[in-house]
Amino acid sequence: MKGYQAGTYDVIVVGAGHAGVEAGLASARMGAKTLMLTISLEGVAFMPCNPSVGGPAKGVVVREIDALGGEMGHNIDKTYIQMRMLNTRKGPAVRALRAQADKQLYQRAMKKTIEDTENLTLRQGMVERLIVEDGVCRGVVVATGAEYRAKAVVLTTGVYLKGKIIIGELQYESGPNNMQASVSLSEHLKELGFDLVRFKTGTPPRVNGRTIDYSKTEIQPGDEEPLAFSYDTKEFIKDQIPCWLTYTNDETHKIINENLDRSPIYSGAIVGTGPRYCPSIETKIVRFSDKSRHQLFLEPEGKETKEVYVDGLSTSMPEEIQRKMLATIPGLEQVEMMRPGYAIEYDAMVPTQLWPSLETKKIEGLFTAGQINGTSGYEEAAGQGLMGGINAARKALGKEPVILDRAQAYIGVLIDDLVTKGTKEPYRLLTSRAEYRLLLRHDNADLRLTELGHKIGLIREERYQRFLVKKQLIEQERTRLAVTTVKPSEEAAELLEQRGAAPIYEPLKADRLLKRPELNYHDVASLLPDNGTAVPDDVGEQVEIQVKYEGYINKQLQQVEKMKRMEKKKIPQDLDYSVIDGIATEARQKLDKVRPISVGQASRVSGVNPSDIAILLVYLEQGKLARKTG
């Protein structure tokens, strides 16, 4: 192929999935001239698996993306067919939004946003190689011969790298949903010296909703009250579409069991490691053979299509078996399958090859984000894409990277886990991965991150001012509750009785009263002298959470203080671990590989013990001392 010089950019983003679009938009919005290259324009923001966004931990990530000035929240708010708040009966730390998306609308809306964005060029093209000079990434080469130059490159290749679809005995090279796979780039990365692993994921069959007998299923409606991911959203979609619940049964399981020899997972055809939290139906049935049924959610893929996603029935069984399985399920006896489920294997980077900025250690100016880093899930991809895009743009503009810590955001937890511990299976965020989940709430994502989003130039001034007002209102209202006294009165007695709370006999500070589990902010506020300014609901909610859970929040904040001091203790990037005698051999090897940027990160590397850290610290102090005296 004859090459030609096709242009120069600040940042090039390779891929336009959920990671790529955030990376491209962030970079362009920060003022970097950005090029997005994708194998197919039809693949922009495509959802090859379930038609939903959010859920526990993941939903919080979407809020964080929004607070930092990313796009996912806006986009899903424009295109959902159903929205729910999960875990409402539990504490505020674990509440989360989940939306069912209209897949086509989601793609179209995102593509339009990209097209409308200044500084951003979206172009079809398959990147085959990187231009690397003296260990620095200078650009990319596309299959058409186009050579693009840039100061930083972000790879967001998803499952396209040497992607292979497997359906029973059928196997073929392919990206998701029969998109074209990318083979050369994967080989090229290996040539550059990167360690790649083979992972696997899968998706269930899609069926025609017209042929479902919904009367045999249970309805799962969305929430009535208006909900939104983005702090910007003011308009809500009214006519929501329900999902439906049905179950597998003995008959389904029998068919699977009888055909296990044809299952690529059990026949050995699949070599990639699959995610435990997203097992195929055949895996579920083998591993949990005592379960007589498994839940299946029937999720519409959009308003303009009859396609329905059979959530829970991810499988790589032969098409013939998939159809037999479907026919055993209540409501699906007559169903028409439109696409079979499949497993897909792909190459991913070993993520410990990255700095916490998502820049590779091996090649300066090269960033990777999303599923290529061993994660799974749209939200995990988007969160990384945003950070990769931000840091690529900052690199191009000559600025220091932005790194979120574990107490700041789930995105921080996600990236820190990846680059510090690596992952042996496709990584999914869970709330239990966060040590400080009480601080990483759905409701306070704006309080945690808007300031930063504004500082790096992704949050517009108007929104920032709005945020400052909210913050101030929260402070004022907290102060008011702390100084205002509720006196025993008939009105108070009546309300307390209604709520099943103990009566008060002596005047009590309003915030003390709010700590009672039976009472909410509105109850307490109703007993206070009207100060003429009713606070907005989101302010009241914040005040309530901050007051009610103050004890626990403070406990976590204290832990965070400690953690932060460890994070502040930086380790020089060129530290030679081999000369530190005291560190145990295993720990030394691990540290040398991960090259943590701080003592805090070092302490999270698996196989590194407290004594190793103590010695490392002594060594670092010694170096300081030597420099001082020498």
């Binding site: 097992p279 869970l430 239990s432 009480l438 013990n609 004594s611 002594v618 060594y619």
Partner: protein, 463 residues
Amino acid sequence: MIELYCEDTIAAISTPVGEGAISIVRLSGPEAIQAADRLFAGKRTLSEVPSHTMHYGRIVDPGTGRTIEEAMVSVMKKPKTFTREDVVEINCHGGLTSVNRVLELVLDQNVRLAEPGEFTKRAFLNGRIDLSQAEAVMDLIRAKTDQAMDVAIGQVEGTLSRLIHQLRQQLLDILAAVEVNIDYPEYDDAEVVTGRLLRDRSIAVRKQVDHVLSTARQGKILREGLSTAIIGRPNVGKSSLLNHLIHENRAIVTDVPGTTRDIIEDYVNIHGIPLKLIDTAGIRETEDTVEKIGVERSRTALKKADLVLLLINYHEELTEGDRQLFTLIGETPAIIILNKTDLSGGVSIDAVEKLAAGRQIVRISLLNEQGIPELEESIASLFFKNGVTQNEEAYVSNTRHIALLKKARSAISDAIEAADQGLPVDMAQIDIKRTWDILGEIVGDTVSDSLINELFSKFCLGK
């Protein structure tokens, strides 16, 4: 989390265990002086005294008001100290048991047990030790840590280790169930963990922790021996009792006839309990100073004692000396022994019972060798209500384990309190996770992905 910085106050016994007449509990850190002050009863509070001075006083258990130890306490304010932090050293002259007890009390005052080599590490990090010594510091940390970890984990005996693992499994079950509820709210096969359920299960865990803690004292006894002081007026039969116990129980006799022994300590084994006998016998008592010396010697012996055997002459009336001895016992567990029942009764039983205030009274005749088995029974039952069940019970004796178990107890109590207050389950979960982590430190298991493994092995999750 690893403690890297010198933010908290640490303490440890800084003299080799079991060697030397004096043992020192050393505290270092910002709250060293305040912490020691809470235990110290002397002429002045330690926060008032000038730096680098030593003070006589008593170490008192703030919970019970009981005196644990008479001690010399030195106060050294920063920066001219070994660690360049505030340092307090409590010089104890009692046996290992009471030094450990002092350390335990110190650790209840928001003070953490020092990691091996940590005083030296702090000295270094605070710039006290120069560059040339840095390498030695690293070696020290390495050596001490490895050794101490081996020892500490080796000390988790089979039964205790099994028990801690069981407790952790119970906690993990709760944690996993709560996590499934949170991360997979629609998953219908997991039990919904309500506040009440969580509370009940936490209470069950706390009960077991309490039980282990209650054996802590017995564990110490089993390991170190129960310091037993035989006291009484001269000629009441102290030496005979000692010899009887020693003879009967075939312990090592270090008795050299004719030698004056200040205080001899011999080990005997009574129903599986090692008794370390502190005798006040062998004192040459002249007629007129008899009472005085007897009381004084007894006083010394008492300071060390976990158990007092007070001998009263059955044949004679109670003297002022006897009465003084009763007062001296204080709250130390004691058995009152009426000796010489072979002779006619001269003592007022009523008066003895009154003075005994509910303590056991045993009648013996050392001359006729009567009542000794009953006495042994009483000693054993005083410490082990149902006899010694050494093999089935988990005894904790290691100070580190006790400190961690106490921490675990307080964490699980927080969970219970949270549930009582009606806080959401995922709040109490924070405390349960902490309890699980703390117990993990005892058995050396701090791997944090067990929970996620548990989640996926137990529940069939995912789309």
